[in-house]
Amino acid sequence: MFPLLTAIVFLPLAAAAVIALLPAARPAAARRIALAASATDLALAAWMLASSRPPAGAAYADSFRFVEDVAWVPQAGIRYHLGVDGISAPLIFLSALLTLLVVLVSWRTEPKPKTWFAMLMLLAVGMNGVFAALDLVLFYVFWELVLVPMYFIIAVWGGPRRQYAAVKFFLYTLAGSVLMLVGILALYLHPVGGTFDMVALAGSTLPRGFQGWVFAALFLGFAVKVPVFPLHTWLPDAHVEAPTAGSVLLAGVLLKMGAYGFIRVSLPILPDASAAWSPAIAALAAVSIVYGAAVAFAQTDMKKLVAYSSVSHMGFVMLGIAAGTVAGLDGAVAMMFSHGVVTGMLFLLVGMVYDRTRTGVLTEVGGLSRSAPVAGGMLAFASFASLGLPGLSGFVGEFLTLVGAWQSPLWRGFVVAAAAGVVLAAAYMLLLVQRAVLGPPTDKVSGIADLSSAEVGLLAPLVALTVLVGVHWSSLLRFVDPAVRALLAAEGAGG
């Protein structure tokens, strides 16, 4: 059988290697190779997504498609084990789509275009790999692989405080994830665990006390990445300093890795600890939702506003995961996908506006609807999608997570707080629309060029996905829901 997942994961690596070997004087070739690789990757990912729908009622182990499983380091029990189900396949598709878009949007990157595209490709390897890996060590390898290119993307092509932000990003996430490694090792060394296989470990009957310790170790790695309050402080710095493409991938894909870790590793492998910890996680999620929204409200920088809104939105994902119900997890995955699309769109738009006005400060950007009506309209659309307007994709996730949390045994005060977060989101997003889009154009905005047709074409797939998922929920949920049910069944089998 054609190793489809290996192709999706490692095609960008091949592209990165070829780009690295090119002479420095040929940036055009580097661009074309990155474009060809990411376009092919997207095509493969789309095909993979279309055929990844598990049959209803399949057991967890049977719900994976395109499985590849060979020994890697047999002495240490490490396997090269890949596979996707309806939870991971949409995320790989999202990662491939955003990678292609950032290759296009950063077409004219200077300086060092060659290194830039090599780094983007390397980042794609890690992102795709995390969602495809079914061996814990392999998962960790891809997880850490992401850090290196993102460090360079922020440190070399970022804003004025890029070096500080890049090192902070690297150290925070590294510190979180090394403890995660200890948790992974503990699972392997425990007599009941005894393997790194994420599928075989699912529904395990590990002792409760041991589960609690491993959960705590993994929690740090995942929660920093999500990021959950109070471990989020690296995120605004990283977002503000990162170039547009970096912000898009950071918010669009990297944050999902943390939530995905909770869903794929913590829930099925440590069911008792997950249940025991769920009130605490729900509480942190509720705090993240309200805190992120409140701080976003106070921002004057557009990038920071979107960054804090991400803290808030990822709080909904965590609430759905803490709920642990079918609706909650469906909503969490839908929210992850939708947030990737919508926040990607927001960062792309903010970047496009910044390219024209050289400012991201809200008081200096205003009246886009008059001088650049297409840009203004798109920004308004993305803001509405972000605040969870029914009919657009953000609503699906928020609605389902709130329903799921209400159905779960969690304290309902968390749900009420989260719902208040929805109102706050409406407030700060409308503030963004009011300041940036409506009103008279400011000095910096008047006379700027509107979006070109190429830029509109770039945003078009994101707009289409936002509407498609928002109107026709099952276009996404028909992949997610069977996988979530299989995962919860596996969890129940062990508990």
């Binding site: 090192v167 690297f170 150290l171 200890v182 090792l185 060394l189």
Partner: protein, 458 residues
């Protein structure tokens, strides 16, 4: 291969050392000596890798098992890479022939040390492995700092060697045998404890673990950087292999020895990784980083599990490769952190290679250092040393901070900040040596399986 034929790798290295002493008579002089030494060491590495399971030799004074094969091959290969670099660049522009001879002698001692299973053989091999290193550290006779460093290194190393010798005599006293086989189960009582602790002192000093680490930063800071690249790696790998054998044998028999070593490991990780932060001299920074890595390495012995020994030896080898390479690049570019500024502009390949080496030292997958740390931490967890593992992972996260102080200027600082271009023109053998080390650093993580098989790890 039976009997003495199994010692051909050592013989090759020592013969090359003798030949290098007469470098003046060879066409091409010192460069030829280094190049020939590199070829001999490389051949020796290939042969040594194939001697696993040759059994014991010389009535039980040497054991040529899988672990010995791996360490002998690793030492010979590291020496080959070092000499190849030397053939391209020389040592501080002078007398590369003697340096090659000394390095080869030290490597020969290290290879013997890796398979020593007799107290006398052990001591002789330790001295053969480290004596040439003292000379190498003081290689520039006209440099007062170099001589001071060499003297510090020599005196501390000699003192700890003698302390160790005293301990060895205790061990002989309680067990009545100089063979390791006789020590197994034969060490007991106060005298046995004292012997084990005194031997541990010597070995801790050889691997520059806390509290016997003081010589390393000062010793390295005065030495030519290319010397530091060798001295801070090859003798350490050899000493670590000896420690795995001897301390691994003593630890289960001597109460509190594992805890003592665990405390030394913990102190090394904390002190090494924290003290590396303020360093501006790459040699000093790498000295402290080496102290930290000595702490990780000790974990494998502390663990006292089956996984421990192979994990330690594997990590000793995969830590040595990037450490040597980083210092060699510093030898080319200048030893101040600021000398690296703009390296990505000047020599992109060197800058990216340096980045890979440093990331491997941090333990970022899928590089060699990651698999090594995975094995070590797994071994220690297996032995229920949870606090030590948590400390070690915290220390490796912290270490990323100072390694990034080397990465950042290469890419972020403009090249103009660098004072004067003092590096000689790029040289093909040196570049080839670095490329080989890069290949190992990249591949040993992905292809760890055959290496672990060589180690005989189940």
């Amino acid at each position: 291969m039976t009997g003495y034929a199994a010692l051909i790798p050592e013989a090759l290295v020592l013969a090359a050392a003798l030949a290098a002493l007469f470098a003046g008579l060879l066409p091409g002089g010192a460069r030829t000596a280094a190049g020939g030494g590199a070829a001999a060491a490389a051949l020796s590495a290939v042969l040594a890798a194939n001697t696993g399971g040759a059994g014991s030799l010389l009535s039980g004074t040497l054991a040529l098992d899988g672990a010995a094969a791996f360490v002998r091959a690793a030492i010979a290969a590291l020496t080959a890479a070092y000499l190849m670099w030397l053939a391209g660049r020389g040592v501080a522009g002078e007398r590369a022939g003697e340096a090659a001879a000394l390095a080869l002698l030290s490597a020969g001692g290290g290879m013997l040390l890796a398979s020593a299973t007799d107290l006398v053989t052990f001591f002789v091999a330790v001295e053969l492995a480290t004596m040439p290193a003292y000379v190498l550290v003081g290689y520039r006779r006209d440099d007062a700092r170099g001589l001071e460093g060499a003297l510090k290194y020599f005196l501390l190393s000699l003192l700890t060697s003698l302390v160790m010798l005293y301990g060895l005599s205790f061990l002989y006293g309680v067990s009545g045998s100089t063979r390791y086989a006789g020590l197994d189960g034969g060490v007991s009582g106060t005298l046995g404890l004292a012997g084990a602790l005194l031997v541990a002192v010597g070995l801790l000093a050889k691997i520059s673990a806390v509290p016997f680490h003081f010589w390393a930063p000062d010793g390295y800071a005065g030495a030519p950087a290319e010397t530091v690249a060798f001295v801070s790696t090859v003798p350490k790998v050899a000493a670590m292999a000896a420690a795995v054998r001897l301390l691994g044998l003593l630890a289960p028999q001597v109460p509190n020895l594992p805890l003592t070593l665990a405390l030394a490991a913990a102190a090394s990780m904390v002190l090494g990784n924290l003290a590396a932060f303020p360093q501006r001299d790459i040699r000093r920074l790498m000295a402290y980083s080496g102290i930290g890595h000595a702490g990780y390495l000790l974990m494998g012995i502390v663990a006292g599990t089956e996984r421990g020994a192979p994990a330690t030896l594997f990590y000793a080898a995969v830590f040595a490769v990037p450490s040597m390479a980083v210092v060699l690049i510093a030898a080319e570019e200048g030893t101040d952190v600021r000398d690296l500024a703009g390296l990505a502009e000047r020599r992109p390949a060197a800058a990216w290679a340096m980045t890979a080496f440093l990331l491997s030292l941090i333990g970022i997958p899928p590089l060699a250092g990651f698999v090594g740390k995975l094995q070590l931490f797994g071994a220690a967890l297996d032995g229920a040393w949870v606090w030590l593992v948590v400390l070690a992972v915290s220390a490796s996260a912290v270490s990323a901070g100072y390694y990034f102080r080397l990465i950042a200027p290469m890419f972020l600082a403009p090249a103009e900040e660098r004072p004067a271009a003092r590096a000689p023109a790029p040289s093909a053998p040196a570049a080839l040596a670095l490329a080989a080390m890069l290949a190992v650093t990249l591949a040993a993580g992905v292809l760890a399986s055959p290496l672990l098989r060589l180690l005989g790890a189940a």
